[in-house]
Symmetry: C3
Subunit: 159 residues, 3 copies
Amino acid sequence: MILSDREIKRRIEEGSLVVEPFTEEDLSPNGIDFRLGEEIADLENNERYSTDREVVLKPNSSYLAITLQKVEMPLNLIAIVTLKSTWARAGCYISTTVIDAGYRGRLTLAFHTGPKEVKVKKGTKIWHLIFIECYPSSGYKGKYQGLETLAFADFSRIA
Amino acid sequence: MILSDREIKRRIEEGSLVVEPFTEEDLSPNGIDFRLGEEIADLENNERYSTDREVVLKPNSSYLAITLQKVEMPLNLIAIVTLKSTWARAGCYISTTVIDAGYRGRLTLAFHTGPKEVKVKKGTKIWHLIFIECYPSSGYKGKYQGLETLAFADFSRIA
Amino acid sequence: MILSDREIKRRIEEGSLVVEPFTEEDLSPNGIDFRLGEEIADLENNERYSTDREVVLKPNSSYLAITLQKVEMPLNLIAIVTLKSTWARAGCYISTTVIDAGYRGRLTLAFHTGPKEVKVKKGTKIWHLIFIECYPSSGYKGKYQGLETLAFADFSRIA
């Protein structure tokens, strides 16, 4: 089952799912909007930009960003990260990402622009997470556990 | 639970899920193929093209299209939009989109071409929707509700 | 429900889900990593490369690859293919693909590079499959059933 807005709120209030900061304004009918955190990096040159001021993202370019919110996923839920539909309509795209049961931390997520430049700043709603129930998992124990800052790709265990 | 072909057909027949027009030919083992409607727009210049005749889509370009079918989603189902695998094999891609419980209308969906041009016209099967059960949701009440024509991105509530 | 690592292992051991070859090393908390098979093709010129040696993939390019593993999906499960998050952090992306209930064979999957070249070879972990329960489906009977080698797009039934 996919969690509804009410069910997400209930689980956050009971503490079995942690999303911080959480405001009801970020709830969608079946998920939570995730916001841009304080840093975004251009993947062509690895240059990092503070999002305290508005950042202009070039057309047809790839970026890596940290989310504002952090999560603590229980062992019986996964999350799937998609793009808010407004960004998709503007030609932007992401590669859908799965957040494993048991993952804790902020999310480092890629974001690709389409044929036009777009502007973002800290707090901009970019992503949409839905939460799906799973059989009890042994839980995430990987190399990105607990990270709170933007982490570039670590290929040490890919092969 | 994901709906199967039989379960989708049953729910459409009982009226709890609306997909119009619906033909069994569009059913896949676990979803419904969605077809291109009468308009597609080039996202670089916002030029719109009628799909009454075949439209040649340029390589490595981004388009926005309206679907032929409209949906009326119940409050206990979401849909996830992916690309038919044949288009993905041809190098095309989309950013996976979630259709919220309670959404009504046609879908405005982006479509990105790969290294080769492709041809489409009204009725071409492009997308594949799967339907997943969710806890009863308060339902979609957003700015795209009820739209039946191609709608460009509206950034008025993104920040 | 999404299958957990334990539940995936249990179903593979009982034979209701087939993934071959299967090693516990490929299990993630909620899915299985899928590895590159012996061939990858450049979608711009359809040139095929053997992965027995390391292959350098050009930046901002589209490839089609065959997986090392084959699957036999039961009628009550679908799989969703996403990219391992390390590749997404490196700017690569895929269009999320659904593997239908009843599909048998290896998977032919597209892979798009970002602003930097990347290197792959046979056995490299690229994709991440999650498995979701579905109502009993009539099962996949399409044109790619049973394929074990890289299959380019077949547009014969798309329109």
